[in-house]
């Protein structure tokens, strides 16, 4: 699939999965989509290994946009992108946007074949700057 992929990273697996459900229902299957949540030990949190796995699952040559919730999700996502390494890391962007609205809007944009830059810009429009 050549559309930009979307990864959803929440501290809560329920929030991440629920957000992914909303994307699937509202946008359909035209976008590579993956989610992860939880600290890997049954608690709330995020972990780098799971995020790297989600990026692999949603990988697209057009790039991947990551939507996160709280600060630790952003830190861990940026770490995951760095560990995936170049050249692919240059095609992965952690968005500054609310997770649910951002994921739905970014996926909607991606489903129309938009570039990674356009997908991320659409998500960022949701954040007061």
């Amino acid at each position: 699939m050549s559309n930009v992929g979307i990864v959803i990273v929440s501290h809560s697996p329920l929030v991440a999965e629920g957000t992914a459900d909303m994307v699937r229902q509202m946008v359909g299957d035209e976008v590579p989509l993956a989610w992860c949540g939880g600290n890997g030990h049954g608690g709330l949190g995020t972990n780098v290994e799971a995020i790297m796995g989600a990026i692999e699952k949603a990988w697209s040559e057009a790039g991947v946009a990551i939507l996160v919730d709280l600060g630790g999700a952003e830190t861990n996502s940026e770490m995951a992108v760095e560990m995936i390494g170049e050249p692919r890391s240059q095609k992965i962007i952690v968005c500054n946007a609310p997770i649910v609205e951002g994921a739905v809007m970014a996926a909607t944009e991606a489903s129309g074949g938009a570039s990674l830059r356009e997908v991320v810009a659409t998500a960022h429009e949701l954040s007061p700057s």
């Binding site: 600290n39 890997g40 030990h41 608690g43 949190g45 972990n47 780098v48 290994e49 600060g71 630790g72 830190t75 861990n76 940026e78 770490m79 560990m83």
Partner: protein, 208 residues
């Protein structure tokens, strides 16, 4: 391990350092958790212990590699096993140190590499000195290295720096949600950092 003629780093024995660091974190895990319960999410001690035990489990393999590679491998292991926000932060410290340090570092190289590693941690956490984080210990330790302080002096400077986070207001991480209520508690990351600094400099000095 080949460390060459490296001044005060000549005695560097990575396996011994790893064991000492893991022992220290294990011995203080409960204290770190208590600190984190006050203003964080209360998992710092457990997370750090899990990470350093994972590093200890592979200490022999890490120690067999050239120092830069060993430090990068330790950083990666910490990223993958500590979790929380501390995993990427402590992991980045070691990863960046490994990228900058030479295979047989003298004090100047160690100091320069440590400075770059602190910059990497600050970038990873989008933070700076004065925000009640591990940076508030790392930076004074770097200054002390630059100033030629002795190992015991560096350890004391690190302890004082961690204590100095008590009256600070947290501006990063979970503690920042508490605003003024974060004042009056030591930052758990600053505490674990000073524990590691003391352990490392004392082990390098050959002290107990």
């Amino acid at each position: 391990m080949e460390t060459g003629n490296a001044g005060d780093m000549a005695a560097l024995n990575l396996a011994r350092l790893i064991a000492a660091a893991a022992d220290t974190i294990a011995a203080h895990a409960e204290e770190l958790t208590t600190l984190d319960q006050a203003i964080g999410d209360g998992d710092h001690g457990l997370n750090m212990k899990r990470g350093f035990e994972a590093v200890r489990a592979e200490a022999a393999a890490f120690s067999a590699r050239p120092l830069p590679e060993a430090l990068k491998a330790i950083g990666t292991k910490l990223v993958m096993t500590v979790g929380g926000a501390s995993g990427p932060l402590f992991g980045t410290l070691f990863l960046a140190l490994g990228k900058q340090i030479s295979a047989a570092p003298d004090r100047a190289n160690l100091t320069a590499a440590f400075g770059k590693a602190i910059e990497a941690v600050a970038a990873r956490g989008k933070s700076q000195v004065g925000q009640k984080t591990m940076l508030d210990v790392l930076q004074p330790v770097h200054d002390a290295l630059l100033q030629g302080k002795t190992a015991p002096e560096i350890a004391d400077i690190a302890d004082a720096a961690a204590k100095a986070t008590v009256p600070m207001k947290a501006l990063r991480g979970r503690a920042s949600f508490l605003g003024d209520r974060s004042i009056g508690h030591m930052d758990a990351g600053a505490r674990s950092t000073t524990l590691l600094v003391r352990t490392i400099v004392e082990t390098l000095e050959g002290q107990p």
